[in-house]
């Protein structure tokens, strides 16, 4: 490819990207007008909700966005691994939930100094999430159950188990949540203004950096990419596909467990039903948009966190329907996917840059067990 054609393609990609954002904004504005509100006011309230005010950054509101971004990024980091390996880890929600349950168990049953207690809770959550994901992996490699079906079942099991614990053995008489955790078991905010856990933020940055390097700069990362494109070919090239499936799933579960621990040890301070809150599914969406381009995950995840975080202010100040933020998010995703499609078509090749998880699964599994 010549330098000028490369530049041309980049310009084309940029143009299509800008056009998709413009169309998204236009559609969003039309919907807002249709429900009788002012798009400008909606924009103002969302930016206020994020913390961007004319007088500067409102740290309290900004920390709300960051606090949603942290568990979302843990999940995205894990999903980058499974996505690269060609796995649809739909079970990520259940892995978060089971991680939250494990962190809760330690928070309630173990009494140690905070410096040991909190890391132990997070480790328990991570290992719990890894265990839950590995079960789905085993169902796939040994039982021939596709990870989507296995994942959905494991999600439900994790939710049912947590609700049983909350309304039964761990109940707070009322059955809606466990009793609040002790102060020394919690992740604490940096300050009363910037209410973000430094431990969670730093850990998130470290694991993302580690996974990014592992995926882009190691032989193992290359193996995952190879099996992501075709498990059969990877197997023929000597890649230990089954081991990698289990490892990728467990790693993703590990991250999801960490996300679950942040939800119970920081966001809520106790265990509640459905505490994973769809963050796992949102993570899938983010990774679907980024493909395997890991460096895009943090800004896209932050963008989603900002839209959702800003919508709290929007809902209260303008009393708009709560689903509006979801509609805006949906339009943006649709436009980005459409733009990807258009770009691929204009280039004259298949649009999907990301691997296609689990293509021709039966054939590959026959080969694996072969």
């Amino acid at each position: 490819m010549t330098r000028s054609s490369l530049l041309g393609q980049r310009a084309l990609a940029l143009g299509i990207g800008m056009a998709s954002i413009a169309v998204s904004l236009l559609l969003t504005a039309l919907i807002i007008l249709a429900v009788g509100a002012s798009p400008l006011e909606v924009f103002n309230k969302v930016t206020e909700g994020i913390g961007l005010t004319p007088t500067g950054l409102d740290m309290v509101r900004f920390s709300g966005v960051v606090n949603f971004w942290i568990p979302l990024m843990f999940v995205c980091t894990g999903l980058l691994v499974t996505f690269t390996a060609g796995l649809w880890n739909i079970g990520v929600e259940g892995q978060m939930m089971f991680g939250a349950v494990c962190a809760t168990w330690v928070a309630q049953e173990v009494f140690l100094p905070t410096v040991v207690q909190v890391p132990l809770e997070m480790l328990a959550a991570a290992l719990g999430g890894a265990f839950w994901a590995a079960l789905t992996g085993l169902l796939k490699t040994r039982g021939g159950v596709h990870e989507i079906f296995g994942g959905v079942a494991m999600n439900n099991l994790a939710n049912i188990f947590s609700i049983y614990l909350i309304s039964g053995p761990w109940g707070n008489q009322g059955g809606q949540a466990t009793p609040p955790f002790r102060q020394e078991t919690l992740l604490l905010p940096m300050s009363s203004e910037f209410r973000v856990s430094a431990v969670a933020l730093i850990l998130m940055a470290v694991v993302f950096g580690g996974i990014f390097l592992a995926l882009s700069g190691t032989r193992w990362g290359l193996e995952l990419k190879a099996q992501g494109h075709s498990q059969r070919s990877a197997l023929l090239l000597g890649v230990p596909v089954e081991r990698n499936v289990l490892l990728a799933m467990a790693l993703c579960g590990f991250m999801a467990g960490l996300a679950g621990s942040v939800r119970v040890l920081f966001t809520y301070g106790n265990l509640r039903p459905l505490v994973s809150g769809g963050i796992g599914f949102l993570g899938l969406l983010v990774v679907l948009l980024t493909g395997t381009r890991a460096l895009w995950a943090p800004p896209i995840a932050f963008f989603f966190a900002a839209i959702l975080g800003g919508s709290t202010r929007l809902k209260i100040a303008l009393q708009l329907d709560q689903s509006l933020a979801g509609v805006v998010q949906g339009i943006l995703v649709l436009m980005v996917i459409l733009a990807n499609g258009v770009r691929g078509r204009l280039r004259g090749r298949h649009p999907a840059q990301a691997p296609e998880p689990s293509a021709s699964l039966e054939a590959e599994e026959a080969a694996i067990h072969g």
Partner: protein, 408 residues
Amino acid sequence: MARRTAVVLIVAAAMLLAATGGFAQDEEFVFGMVLVGPRNDHGWSEAHYTAGQYVEQQVPGARMVFFESLNPADAPETTLEQVVEEMLAEGAKVIFTTSDEFEEDTLFVAQKYPDTIFINVSGDDALTGEAPANLSNIMGNMELGKQIAGCAAALATETGKLGYLGPLINFETRRLAASVYLGARYCYEHYRGGNPDDLSMTVTWIGFWFNIPGVTLDPTEETQRFFDGGADVVISGIDTTEALVVAGQRAAEGAKVWAIPYDYEGACAGAPAVCLGVPYFNWGPAYVQVVEAVKNGTYEQFWHWNPPYFEDISDNDKTAVGWVNGDALTEEQAAQLDEFIAMLAETDPGVLTADNIDDEGKQIGLWVGPLALQDGTVLAEEGEIVPPRSVWYLEQLLQGMTGDSSAQ
């Protein structure tokens, strides 16, 4: 001269009007309403939202700001603390948190914002003494409404088998299910001439306040199961109307079945022909009282368990718990139900508060012995009134009921 006199008169009149408040603008008074579900759920949350609108009509200058579906699944990006802070930014002086799911978080925000009044609905922190002075609790005495529902079910049943669709298991849900049972037994015996021990009531707990596919039991399937098992009346204790919908479908196929929904005055509309009636919460009058007290600076901490207004149980300017007869109730049954309600009115406990809940003689309708808990423990001897506090903190279902008393 005459013109000057006229001007003087007009100015004087204007000053007089201004002094008496005639020209005074009603100052805006913002209150917050935090809902656990959608504001149009035809159930629990809609009843609160409607009450907020009632406050706006009744209290001059009152303006509601609300946040709906605040729960980890529907609003994972936000917490009660963040919602409260946004409401404070809008100028809210009093905030209603309308679920026991918010109980712990309300305690936290009340401690953090001592100048704002918080009302947690259905909680007990102001009863136990845990709450700071700016946190109070309101609940409607739905136990009386549920006794009426139980009576209606007993008047209609032909098989003598009732099904109760319960949410999750806690003090509140146990005492409500048990209240239905008490009402049903009484009316089966007194109006139907039956032996109350022949009347069966099975409680199925679906696991949560509404259906979560794959997580809770499916209320539609459970209602089908009740009818398949021979029950002909299903009473709902959950936030949504599946019991009524299924009963409507069964009736359309020719079955003689009925249902009693819950929470919201208009709930029968889903299938009026099979609806025996609905016990509903009417939060408006209590909310008006709170908003006016805070506005006038006369607020004092309270814990209120508010009764129905028995003189006219469906007077929404006065009652805290209402009952509407359904289309499926015959004239004779409606008359018997009126008689039953009049009987309940004779033991009206009034507003139960932290100060009077332990007073002797306070009786919640049919909560009188002989009564035993499911494991046989005596709750009240013959003729003994069950103290309201023991009803509030009911440890088990009652003897004779079928169903789990705890999740363990």
